[in-house]
Each structure stands twice: as structure tokens, then as C-alpha cells.
């Protein structure tokens, strides 16, 4: 997208009827939000009609991301990869988080296969108000037996709603897998210099996105992409190879060079999502634990450096949890303040005798405290004080959290109408404000734990 794009460039292509169907006052407001990427193009319904088809295409050309967005689908879920506008997140924001796939193989006994697939689907972690999850199942053919692969794909489809990546270089085996993936668009992995014609045919026939695999050879990668595009296949994903051990440098170089070619050179043949395969760590000799470590840090490296999808093998929490948190962090929109609305929140079914606690409106702090209250199944009120999105420590040090502000929040929240008592639990890290808060608010202060994980125990012992 051109950085200097003005809302006027968009406005002149809009219907200019001010129909408000997009939820905004007028077409100019829509144009402004569209340029700021705060609303999607599809929100403008009239543009979807045939009358405006050409205008819509023109607008799309103005606002489309540099990187092609590719969609991988199951009958009920879709995973978008790519679709990025910038090389570095501080230049704007990243859009589609790295999709993480965990593998299953076609030599697994059916019960083990089902168990693993369920584990992949159910892997979940609550983190600041969000459920972090894995996104894809990568089905690998280790048997190269079309029948076995087909059966495996069938079982996977029956047991998960997650979209798939189908992995084999053998077109016959791939075809068998694709024929079992009904109403889906699995990602085909992969076309190589040896099988590209057959894989290209399959991608066309089944209308599925296709991975181009050219290990450590970007020239080959480009020529295969060119061939596929001439063939009419546009939904492509690139794999320049993920090399463990001392190949890690080449891996990072290839990923970076491809991304730089896309963003700085406008190289259309390389403006596609990238897939990394940290699972290659398992092909090395050595201790299993070493392979697990290496797979983990390769994944970390590629989440930070440009991978739009990853395939890993290890399904243990110690390896995956840090990966999905890293992904969540890197894909956080740097333009948005990480704050929640100040005010009063209720947990459980509080009554007039229920405890009142307070915390700051820094999202990370708020959701951490909220999660601890929820897991303790407390019935209580939580007063969220506006600290301009700062944590307790920083807010106290920077005078954004003061006794005055707490006293004002108590008053504004009207909590005094909800409870009979006048006792408030304050964060342990705000302990030095306790006297002043009592003075300004007239409430009695109980100094809570330094970390909110101590809330359940604290409430049990101290709240009478």
C-alpha cells in the first residue's frame, strides 16, 4: 500500500451516497478509516454490487497488502497467513499472526492419531483475556502409501475442525489426501523442482493453496513461482528451507532476503507468505532433548523473522507455550495503547458484603488480576483505576496512581451504593499509598499481595 495514500484517493471511488451501511456517518468517514486500516473494504456493501465492481478493484489495488494473503480452510475454520503491509512491526503493525502447525504421520495407529489430533486442537492457554491456540494440523506421509495417507487425512478431518497442511512430495499420495479433504482448502506441501508440474495440476484441480519448496535456492524458488503464476495459481506459500545447526544463518538470510525483496524491491515473485519448518531439527543425529530445544529456538527465531506459518513436532507445553506467547507479543498492534476501560467490574455474584479490590487499567495487569479472581471463584467488585495504561509499579513511580485518583475512582464508580462496608484491597505494590488513600477516600485499606496470584490466599486469610 502506498504510504502517502490520502482518504480523498479512496473517496472519489466510493459510491458517495452516505448510506451508513458500513456503520459510519458518511463515505468520507469510511475512506478515512479505510486508509487508517481501522475498517475493512468489505464493510462497504454497495461496492460489492456489480455496478461498482471496477471501482472496488481500483480501491483494492490502492490498499492491498504488499504480501499476498493466503487462506487455508477446513469446512468450519479458516486460517489467514501473509497479508502484511510492512517489513518491520514498528513501521505499522503485523496483521496475521504466524500460524503454527503440529504434525501427525500416516503410520500412526488410529487411536494414537486421534489422540494427537485432539491434543493439537485442545492446546490452549489463557493470556490477557485471549485464548492462545495452535492453528493447523500438518499431515505427513512417511509411508508414501496413497491409501494410508488418504485414510489418515480422513481420520484427521473427522476428528478436528483445524485446517490442514498436507505434506508429501509424491503427487499420487497428495492426490489421495486431497480427495479426502472435502469442503476444505488444505495447504499443499510441496511443489519442488522435481514434481512441480503434477503438484501444480493438483493445486488447480482442487483449488488449494500451494507451497513452493526450493531449499536454499531463491533463484529456483522464483522461477517455480513464475511458472505457477503463468499457470494461473496465485495462492502460493514459499519455503526456502529451515536448516538446523550451522544452517541457521542461511535460514535467517533466506527468510530476510525474500522479505526484503518483497518490501523494498517490490519483487512480485517473492511477495508471498513464508513457511518455516523447525521440525527439521528432528532429522539431526543426537539426543532427543537437544532436538526439542533446537526446534523451539528455530521456531522462536522464525516467529520474529518473517515466518507466516510454521510446522513443528513437539507438542509439549514447555516448548509450545513460550512460542505462542512470543507470537502474540510480536503481533500485538503497536499503535494501540494496551489499556482497558476504567470503571467497576463484577466477578461472580457479589452482594453488599462482597470485597472490593482495585487495580490499574494496564491490560496486562488487569487481565492477570481478573484471571486470578476468576480462578479463585471470588464474588467481588474490582475497581479499575485509570493509570493511563501503566502497571502498578510504573503508575506509582510516575504519579499516575495517586491517593487522589483512587479516591476519585471510588466516588465515580458509585461502588458506595453497592456495598455496605468501606474496605478496599489495594495492590501490594501500591502499599505506600495506603495511609493517604484512607485519608482521601475515608475507606479502610487492606494491603494486598505483591503479585495477584496471592489474591485467593490473601482473601481467605485477611478478608473478614
Amino acid at each position: 500500500m502506498a504510504k502517502e495514500l490520502s482518504p480523498l484517493d479512496i473517496y472519489k471511488l466510493l459510491p458517495k451516497t452516505n448510506c451508513k451501511e458500513c456503520g459510519l456517518e458518511n463515505c468520507m468517514a469510511f475512506a478515512t478509516k479505510l486508509v487508517a486500516m481501522e475498517i475493512g473494504l468489505d464493510a462497504c456493501k454497495p461496492l460489492l454490487t456489480s455496478k461498482y465492481r471496477r471501482n472496488r478493484e481500483k480501491i483494492w489495488d490502492l490498499i492491498k497488502p504488499t504480501l499476498k494473503e493466503v487462506v487455508i480452510k477446513s469446512p468450519t475454520k479458516e486460517v489467514k497467513i501473509g497479508g502484511e503491509y510492512v517489513m518491520y512491526r514498528h513501521e505499522l503493525t503485523y496483521i496475521n499472526p504466524t500460524a503454527i502447525a503440529v504434525d501427525v504421520t500416516d503410520d500412526l495407529p488410529k487411536d494414537e492419531l486421534i489422540e494427537r489430533v485432539k491434543k493439537i486442537e485442545n492446546f490452549s492457554y489463557s493470556y490477557i483475556g485471549k485464548e492462545l491456540k495452535l492453528n493447523l494440523v500438518a499431515v505427513r506421509s512417511v509411508t508414501e502409501d496413497p491409501e494410508k495417507f488418504g485414510e489418515t487425512v480422513k481420520t484427521v478431518v473427522e476428528n478436528t475442525s483445524l485446517p490442514m497442511i498436507l505434506c508429501t512430495f509424491n503427487p499420487k499420495v497428495m492426490k489421495s489426501g486431497l480427495s479426502e479433504a472435502k469442503n476444505s482448502k488444505p495447504l499443499i506441501y510441496a511443489a519442488t523442482k522435481d514434481n512441480w508440474d503434477k503438484m501444480g495440476e493438483l493445486a488447480s484441480m482442487y483449488n488449494c493453496p500451494l507451497t513452493i519448496f526450493a531449499p536454499n535456492d531463491i533463484t529456483l524458488l522464483k522461477s517455480l513461482v513464475k511458472t505457477m503464476k503463468e499457470y494461473g495459481i496465485e495462492d502460493l506459500v514459499l519455503d526456502p528451507g529451515t536448516f538446523p545447526g550451522d544452517g541457521v544463518s542461511a535460514t535467517l538470510n533466506n527468510f530476510t532476503m525474500i522479505r526484503r525483496a518483497a518490501f523494498k524491491e517490490n519483487d512480485e515473485l517473492l511477495s508471498f507468505p513464508l513457511i518455516g519448518t523447525p521440525i527439521t531439527a528432528w532429522t539431526q543425529e543426537g539426543r532427543i532433548l537437544d532436538k526439542k530445544w533446537e526446534e523451539t529456538y528455530l521456531a522462536g527465531m522464525l516467529i520474529v523473522r518473517f515466518a507466516d506459518a510454521l510446522i513443528v513436532h513437539n507438542l509439549e507445553g514447555w516448548s509450545l507455550l513460550p512460542q505462542i506467547i512470543l507470537r502474540e507479543n510480536i503481533y500485538t498492534d503497536p499503535r494501540k495503547p494496551v489499556a482497558v476501560e476504567p470503571g467497576i467490574r463484577t466477578f461472580g455474584q457479589p452482594n453488599e458484603n462482597s470485597p472490593v479490590l482495585f487495580t490499574t487499567n494496564f491490560a496486562l495487569t488487569y487481565y492477570t488480576v481478573a484471571a486470578d479472581i476468576q480462578s479463585a471463584k471470588l464474588d467481588c467488585y474490582l475497581l479499575v483505576v485509570d493509570t493511563e495504561g501503566l502497571s502498578v509499579d510504573s503508575a506509582v513511580a510516575g504519579r499516575k496512581l495517586t491517593a487522589d485518583r483512587v479516591a476519585d475512582s471510588i466516588k465515580e464508580s458509585k461502588i458506595e451504593e453497592k456495598v455496605k462496608h468501606r474496605k478496599i484491597v489495594i495492590p501490594g505494590r501500591a502499599s505506600r499509598l495506603s495511609g493517604e488513600i484512607e485519608e482521601k477516600s475515608g475507606w479502610k485499606v487492606l494491603v494486598g499481595p505483591l503479585d495477584s496470584s496471592g489474591i485467593p490466599k490473601f482473601m481467605q486469610e485477611k478478608w473478614k
Partner: protein, 335 residues
Amino acid sequence: MSSIPISFEKYEGEIKEVEIGATKTEGGTRSYSVTVGGDKYLPLYSFEGINPNPPRIAHEVYCYHAPLPGSLFNFFGDLVDNPVEWSREAVNKFKAEMVNLRLTDAFSIRNETFKKEISNVIEEVLQAVKVPLLITGVMDIIEMDDYRKNNEILTKSAEICEGEKCLIGPVYTNAFQEIGKACLEKKHPVLAKTNMDVNQALKLNTSLLNLGLTNKEIIMDVTTGALGYGIEYTFSTLERVKIRALRGDKILQSPSIIFSSESWLARELQEEDKLETEKTGITFEVLTAITGIMAGANISSSLHPEAAKLINEFVNNFFNEPKQFITVEEWLKTR
């Protein structure tokens, strides 16, 4: 390497080299010194060019009241509260190239009786290990008085370590003079800490340069949090500072540091009885460090020796000549 026509950025600037640790010939007692920085290209992009000094790791040793979660207490055992022995173990057993002596947190520095003891500890550690040292004071300012305590304890440290070229800090935008002057006089590099803001980093570096220090005597800590707790800010600030320095902003042309040890503050790691907390923590630390290193950190201050080992392994892979790539196709069929 495959060739594609891509534009190589031409960098006007380069990061200055900072030396930590003075050997006998330089007037100290360290058995070697470590040079960090000197970057001419973005970190680890060897297609642009190879930077002269790989990122280095300092092993952390806490004086007292180490803020460790249960799994780390178990791991370090008797070494906790025994900083001299801990330093020795870090060097001899865990092969630490540098030791970061953390003079513990603000809460305990507030306790006057520790001060004298801390001086003794520094002297004993200087005797016990001969690797270059980092000496870090109050990293978590909670009230104004913490600045005074930090000044006091670090100024004292600069005196005790005269001639050793220890990296001493943090200094802050509103509390840099005393420590800065002491380091200038006693010839120590300074750790300059700001909070995830390029302009703050510029401001503090400018102050230190005005004081008479040079970019060869400053290491910047522009980070704010580890994995799960603000690493996105850490990452982007490090990256912006590095890109800006390489593009020619002279004021920012000093190396950077990341504290992967911060990872252990993550709440995911506080439950003592939870299975595999230690392994999860090591992973948090490794991912924090490599994220920081990729964005431009020249030093990682790390806590768990296994994490330090893995970070080292990751970094070394970039500086070894590749032998023979394995055929990566094999993973498809690996059972």
C-alpha cells in the same frame, strides 16, 4: 548462497566497540577482556556482512534476596545468598564468560546494614573470579529514594573496582551524574537504562556524552520486559535504536543489552509444584534472548546456565562456517 537481486542498505554509521574487563597490562586483574559492539550491519544478517563481535552472555549472580521463582531456588540451592561461591560456580562449572553481579533489588538496598556487606562481596568476587564483571544496582525504581540508594551503592562500586573496567549501572535520565562521573574517573563503562523510548535513550546518551563519556563507554538498556511481559516493546525499541544508529545517528552508536533473566518474573513460572516449570522458564529465557539479539542486543544478561548455554549455541551457529547442510527434505519422511 543463492543470489537474488536485492538492495543492500548502505549504512552510514557503525556501533562503537565497548571493552569490558581490564587485564594486568591494562591496569586491572581480569584474565581477559570482552569486546562487544562494533556492528556495521543489522544483527545476524550475514548476507549484508559479518559483524566483528558476536553477541555475548553474562551470567547473573545475585548478592542477596535473589527474586527467583521456586524452580530456580531449587536449581541453585546453596549458592543462593552466597554470591562469592555462586560466581565461582558460574565461571568454573557453567563456563560464564562474564559475570553480572546484581547487587540485589531496591527493597534490600534500603536496608542500611547490607551496604557494607555488599562492598565486601564485590571485593571477594573480584578475588574469586577473573572474568570481566558487570555490576548492576537498582533495576526497578519504585520510589524516588531508590535513585539515591542506587547512586550511593554504584558510586561505591566504581571505587572498589577501580581499574577493572566493569560495566556499571544502571544510570537513569534523572539520576546519571554521580555514577557517570565516578565511572568516568575510575574508567568503567556505564549501563544507561531508559524505558522503551528512543527519545529517552537519546536524551540519556546525550547527557552522558556531555559528562565526558564516549560511545565506547556506554551500553544501552532500552528494554522493558521479557517474553509475555512487554517483549514487543523491547523488541521494537532495540530494533529502532539499532537501525537509527547504523543509519548515522551518532548519539545512539553504543551497544545494547537485554536481560533475559527478566523472563523468570513471568507468572507462568511462579508455581513451584508445576511440572516442567524449569524447562518452560529456560525456554522463556532463550526466546527472550534470541528475540533481543535479533533486534540488536549485543549482550544478554542471563540467569539459568542451561539457557545461557542454548543462547550461546544459537549465536555460535551464526558465526561458524557452515559445513554441509543436511538435506532438509528428510523431515518429511522421518518417523
